[in-house]
């Protein structure tokens, strides 16, 4: 079990040019979306579909498999931004029909503007390769957590939500959320033990 951990994920991806290299990015893309999209509209949009579409696009872009991880990640982020854009547009056109079920103050436009910029931001040549690997590892580790723990961590860390907000969102008490954070971070420590 220590073996796959000790190999850098970029090595794995360089050496193993099989047909499913993009699968390594699934957790990463999922996390990007969770970080980007307003949690209150997440359930209204097909985010897993966006990830799937992006990976499908990656599958069709055969030349990508030769590229370094950073380039692939940059490419995927860009396509992800575009696909998310499409999905959110669909969401907005549905909004009328869904009637009053949606929080009207949520503004999806912001989140994909951010993402588009993110796409460009990541293309800076000074970006260390290392960064992408770490990001992939963290994303994968987060994906191993029970859903509620992952959600609590994402909401607190990336969205800056308060315990009370997370508690409402998850339908639990604030103490229970503290427990989720505690257990989640503990497991992440184990998963990412070799990272630094």
């Amino acid at each position: 079990m220590a073996a796959p951990m000790s190999t850098s994920s970029s090595d794995v991806m360089h050496d193993n040019l099989n047909d499913t290299w993009w699968e390594e990015f699934r957790s990463y893309l999922r996390l990007l979306l969770d970080v980007q999209v307003d949690p209150t509209i997440r359930s209204k949009t097909d985010l897993s579909g966006v990830v799937q579409q992006t990976l499908l696009d990656a599958h069709q872009a055969s030349s990508l498999r030769q590229s370094p991880v950073a380039e692939r990640a940059a490419w995927l982020r860009r396509v992800l931004a575009n696909n998310l854009n499409d999905e959110l547009r669909k969401y907005r056109s549905d909004k009328r029909d869904v009637g009053r079920e949606l929080p009207l103050n949520s503004c999806p436009d912001d989140s994909f503007d951010h993402l588009a910029e993110l796409a460009v931001e990541g293309s800076s040549p000074s970006t260390p390769l290392r960064r992408e690997e770490t990001a992939l590892r963290v994303a994968a580790a987060l994906d191993c957590l029970p859903a509620a723990q992952r959600e609590a961590i994402v909401l607190q860390h990336w969205h800056g939500w308060t315990l009370a907000q997370i508690a409402t969102h998850l339908g639990r008490t604030r103490m229970a959320v503290a427990g989720l954070l505690k257990r989640g971070l503990r497991q992440l420590r184990e998963e990412l033990r070799d990272l630094k």
Partner: protein, 1089 residues
């Protein structure tokens, strides 16, 4: 255990306390804190170390904060090549446009980049590059110059001059321009366009936003890009608050769809190019050859129109309606929208917008000259056309086109199917115009039918229905009616609400319905006819509705916190009272009709008197908000649920809390089961649970929904539950066993309300699609109607009057079924071993069956009695048919021969060794003159029935011919083969007319529709396919059970297809509603306003 769990609790509380202190902005002093919590010290330190470790690790990932918009920050967006990106200007279909600084030159430019890699969208990339290249070679002051074309990380981009002054679209956004100014601007654009045309470049997407404005620099120095050092100032300067003075010079940009006249064009890529409101008709329905300079003249006309009126010539809510208008309608004359429009300029504009390109100005130069005449005050040369003449001329000239457009548009909506259109278009360019159109129509029709099937499968029933409605009426046939019926399984559908219908309730007598909608209205309907009886308007959106048990009152909860009570008979407002802060989410009548319970966003649940409005009890809850209230059948308890994962029950007499328990998820709907012992709770995890009231224990869970459940209802006797939600389905299931009874695709998007009719077997549902649909539980159980043997069905046949279907099965029986309901009519047992074949006589008063045992038995179809054995002692018989004269029959055996015998005494008339390896099929033609036989030797042979002479040999396919079917008119024969093909032969010449390729395994059977336009086939690949004879293409593939389909037949009236297969069942696929007398278009019967 208890010690450690209490330790965990205390630790969690401490973490929460510390985190919340940090949230408030206090600094964390852990050392201080642990003095008073020494036993937690280690764990707390571990937690904060874990937290820090995590924060360091995720520094690699983008943080939400670092992603705030660039405006207001002094960091750049990054770089592309030599360009430092400053601001996102626009985002188009596939690309983005940035304002950027070109570093070595330090000039501000616009950079346009495609957001897809070269691999995923080659069409896009090609178009993008065409844009860059064609624009780059045009050096004209009226055309936006391209500086550089390049690639960045595999993504193509180009840079061009940056125009801070906006476009023509901005210019007229606030209102029409003055006529002379309009003429001047368009004149300049026309001059530039003429230049492009002379260089063989057509723009193809001219519209106001593509004509950028170059304002005189000296009059407003701060607009000069080169003077601007800070990108932030510049980014703010776009149009807002900046007064541009002087006369702007127009500059054409975005040759995104440009096409070199010399090239062939790229329409075969199957993409529609252009912007609906500004597209020329030939871009929608013409061949690619007809797109040329005249298309741009049309674009200039559209720009003229926009500048004169402030709106494009055609504009509908839906882009596809816009396309239709472009092709079918004449634009509203500009003078009607802007009375100050001069007659001459209007004439010029409308001439540009002519549907026929020949009637427009011949060149952009000619238009420029005409505008010049106008500007100089000279008479213009264009002649005006009267409007009546126009419309008449157009519709008369293009009758086919007009209907075709509808089809094209629907296909666009369907998405991704345009290639069929353009593929055919490309092939037939040289052919006769009319034939081509007809072919196109067929091709489109097929695309539409296939799309309908897809939409239906993905639960977009409304979409499917819309596409069906747009299908060319003259092409509609069985498949259309079949799909239409499949889209309308409901008993009745009525609409009238202008927005989502939130809840619906029956009157206690079941005769009326009341619906509450977000459109601020409550509507009263006749439940049987769907007739709208009354409309009650509300001050705000209606959230919920309830009908009192005595039938007298209807109560509605509104989003503004009011509850309104109406007298259901008189329609008078009985009471209107503000009861909640925020919305009233749930409302319910006490069984005595004198009290009401309501709950709202404020988390309060109230019990109050209907006549006085006095509040009997007000209960505070942790529900935030409280979503639903319900009384038990005797009115002793009221239950409430909502966000907060809690269900609470109170005693309605004492007001005491009787019970409260936590649930696993947000419970959006709650109801008492009639026994008063159990609750039914629907929650956000797509589950409906039965809970024991005394304990809160989950007794059972119903998990068939795919998305959160929003509505539930229990039948009066408590045996059935109806549920619906965000998956759009309405499921009816057994309350005790959870067994699914019905599964209806009820509403597009979400089902919001459901109610069982107090009497009878109706259920009503409403949803976000604004529709109300009434369903009947007695309607056929599964779709299609089906009935079963105990083993494989080998052959099925319709009686000639179409009332019965007979089936021959491996289980040794022949069975008869009602051809409409699939109800069993009788079982005939007599064969030893499996029954392989059967055939009715012409009058259908008897039928013959034959099987493995080599016997032929004759049965009376009314008494189901055996009339006698008419042949025996043969090898297994694979096929049998009765001659139209009713005196003779033929059967084919495994040893390769067929025999013709007398029906009554079985005398042999003729025997023929016909097919080596076995005869698979024998059939008489409907006029009785020909006998077709087919078999293992891959051949169909046609015999003269009277002389026994071999007339023809049909041989082309490779494999056993399992079935041969005559068309009713006797002109054609279809042969289904084990190689997966179906051959269609012209009998007059004996030539193979077409080969249908589509099945992926043995084709066991084929049957012509009575009108001869369709062929149904079935086979090993578990499908029934319906083919169009004219095109030879499959229109519809019906996937039934996952078993081989062995036999298929069209009913004599052409309304149904029966199939039988290895699933042991007979399926009836009806294209007609069985229980309804339908006159005219059945679809319209259910639509009423």
């Amino acid at each position: 255990m208890s010690l450690s769990s209490s330790h965990e609790q205390r630790l969690n509380a401490a973490i929460a306390e510390l985190l919340e202190a940090m949230e408030r902005g206090e600094t964390l002093d852990l050392d201080q804190y642990v003095i008073t919590h020494s036993d937690l010290e280690d764990d707390l330190r571990t937690f904060f170390q874990d937290r820090l470790r995590f924060q360091i690790a995720v520094a690699a990932l983008p943080s939400a904060k670092s992603l705030t918009p660039a405006i207001g920050r002094d960091t750049s967006l990054g770089t592309i090549g030599n360009y430092q990106l400053l601001k996102l200007i626009a985002r188009g279909g596939m690309g983005v446009v940035y304002m950027a600084r070109q570093l070595p030159l330090n000039r501000t430019v616009a950079v346009k980049m495609l957001l897809r890699g070269t691999d995923s969208m080659p069409d896009e990339v090609r178009r993008f590059q065409t844009e860059a290249e064609s624009a780059a070679q045009l050096n004209h002051p009226g055309i936006v110059p391209i500086y550089e074309v390049g690639q960045h990380e595999g993504l193509p981009y180009f840079s061009m001059r940056y125009f801070p002054g906006g476009s023509l679209a901005d210019l007229a956004a606030s209102g029409p321009l003055e006529a002379r100014e309009t003429a001047r601007l368009v004149h300049d654009v026309a001059i530039a366009l003429e230049f492009a045309h002379q260089h063989h470049v057509v723009h193809r997407d001219l519209k106001p936003s593509n004509v950028l404005l170059d304002w005189p620099v000296d009059e407003n120095p701060s607009t000069s890009n080169e003077d601007c050092t800070s990108p932030l100032n510049d980014s703010d300067s776009m149009m807002a608050g900046r007064a541009y003075r002087g006369q702007p010079k127009p500059c054409i940009s975005d040759f995104g769809l440009a096409k070199r006249l010399s090239e062939n064009g790229d329409t075969q890529s199957g993409q529609i190019l252009g912007t609906p409101s500004y597209m020329a008709p030939e871009q929608i329905v013409g061949s690619s050859a007809s797109i040329g300079p005249a298309t741009d003249i049309y674009g200039l006309g559209a720009i003229l129109y926009y500048l004169l009126t402030g709106r494009p010539p055609f504009q509908a809510a839906d882009p596809f309606d816009t396309l239709r208008q472009v092709c079918e309608h004449d634009p509203v004359p500009p003078s009607r929208l802007n009375p100050s429009t001069t007659r001459d300029l209007e004439t010029i504009t409308l001439r540009c917008l002519e549907k026929k390109s020949e009637r427009r100005f011949p060149t952009a130069g000619a238009l420029a000259a005409e505008l010049e005449r106008f500007l100089d005050g000279r008479p213009i040369l264009s002649r005006r056309i009267g409007y009546c003449e126009r419309s008449f001329r157009w519709s008369k000239r293009q009758p086919v086109v007009a209907s075709l457009i509808v089809a094209v548009i629907a296909t666009f909506v369907a998405g991704g199917l345009t290639s069929a259109y353009f593929g055919v278009q490309a092939n037939r360019r040289a052919n006769e115009e009319h034939e081509r159109r007809r072919e196109l129509e067929r091709s489109l029709y097929r695309s539409q039918v296939m799309q309908v099937d897809l939409e239906w499968q993905s639960n977009n029933v409304n979409r499917a229905d819309q596409i069906l409605d747009s299908c060319e009426p003259t092409l509609r046939n069985w498949e259309w009616r079949f799909l239409k019926r499949r889209c309308h399984p409901e008993q009745l559908m009525f609409h009238g609400h202008g927005d989502s219908v939130r809840e619906i309730a029956y009157s206690p007598d079941g005769c009326r319905l009341v619906s509450a909608s977000i459109d601020k209205s409550v509507r009263l309907w006749d439940a049987k006819s769907g007739e709208l009886l009354d409309v009650w308007n509300c001050d705000d959106s209606a959230m919920g509705v309830a009908w009192s048990a005595n039938g007298e009152l209807v109560a509605v909860g509104l989003e503004n916190g009011q509850v309104v009570v109406w007298n259901a008979t008189s329609g008078h407002r009985h009471l209107c009272k503000s009861l909640h802060h925020g919305g009233v989410n749930g409302i319910s009548f006490h069984p005595d009709s004198r009290k009401l319970a309501s709950c709202g966003d404020d988390g309060l649940v109230k019990l109050w008197d209907v006549s006085s409005g006095d509040e009997t009890f007000v209960w505070e809850t942790n529900l935030n908000p409280a979503l639903c209230v319900a009384f038990d059948a005797r009115g002793e308890m009221v239950a409430a649920s909502g966000d907060g994962n809690e269900v609470m029950l109170w005693d309605t007499n004492s007001g005491q809390l009787r019970q409260s328990f936590m649930t696993d998820a947000l419970t959006s709907r709650i109801l008492f089961m009639p026994d008063g012992q159990r609750l039914l709770a629907a929650d956000d995890t797509a589950t409906v649970r039965t809970l024991q009231i005394a304990t809160g224990k989950v007794l059972s869970s119903f998990d068939e929904h795919m998305a959160p459940v929003r509505a539930i209802s229990i039948s009066r006797d408590g045996t059935k539950v109806a549920s619906g939600g965000k998956d759009g389905t309405l499921l009816i299931w057994d309350a005790d066993s959870g067994e699914l009874i019905r599964d209806w695709k009820a509403h597009h998007l979400t089902v919001l309300g459901i109610a069982f009719c107090p009497h009878g077997n109706d259920v009503v549902s409403c949803g976000v699609d604004r529709l109300i649909r009434v369903w009947n539980l007695e309607s056929p159980l599964v779709f299609p109607e089906s009935a079963g043997h105990t083993d494989r069905v080998n052959e099925i046949a319709f009686s000639s009057n179409g009332d019965l279907v007979a089936s021959a099965s491996k289980d040794g029986t022949v069975r008869l079924w009602d051809a409409k309901s699939a109800a069993a009519e009788g079982t005939m047992i007599g064969h030893e071993g499996m029954v392989l074949a059967l055939a009715f006589n012409q009058r259908s008063d008897w039928l013959l069956s034959a099987g493995e045992d080599g016997c032929v038995l004759r049965w009376d179809t009314s008494s189901k009695q055996l009339l006698g054995q008419v042949a025996g002692d043969n090898k297994p018989i694979w096929s049998i048919d009765v001659h139209p004269d009713g005196e003779r029959f033929v059967f084919g055996t495994e040893d390769g021969e067929f025999q013709v015998r007398n029906v009554h005494h079985g005398d042999l008339k003729w025997r023929q060794l016909a097919h080596a390896g076995g005869v698979k099929c024998v059939r008489f033609s409907s006029d009785g003159k020909l006998l077709a036989s087919s078999g293992q030797d891959a051949t169909v042979r046609l015999w003269n029935v009277e002389t026994g002479e071999l007339m023809r040999e049909l041989k082309h396919q490779r494999g056993t011919i399992w079935h041969a079917a005559f068309s009713r008119d006797g002109n054609r024969l279809a042969s289904s083969c084990s190689d997966g093909t179906v051959g269609v032969w012209t009998l007059a010449s004996g030539s193979l007319e077409q080969t249908f390729i589509g099945h992926t395994g043995i084709v066991y059977a084929a049957s012509f529709s009575p009108d001869g336009s369709r062929l149904a086939t079935a086979g090993f690949d578990q499908t029934v396919k319906v083919w169009e004879l004219t095109t030879g293409l499959d229109l519809l593939t019906i996937r039934g059970p996952i078993w081989s389909v062995n036999s298929v037949a069209f009913s004599p009236d052409g309304q149904s297809i029966a199939s039988g297969g290895s699933d042991s069942r007979v399926h009836l696929w009806h294209a007609q509603w069985p229980n309804r007398e339908v006159a005219g278009n059945p679809a319209n019967l259910f639509l009423r306003d």
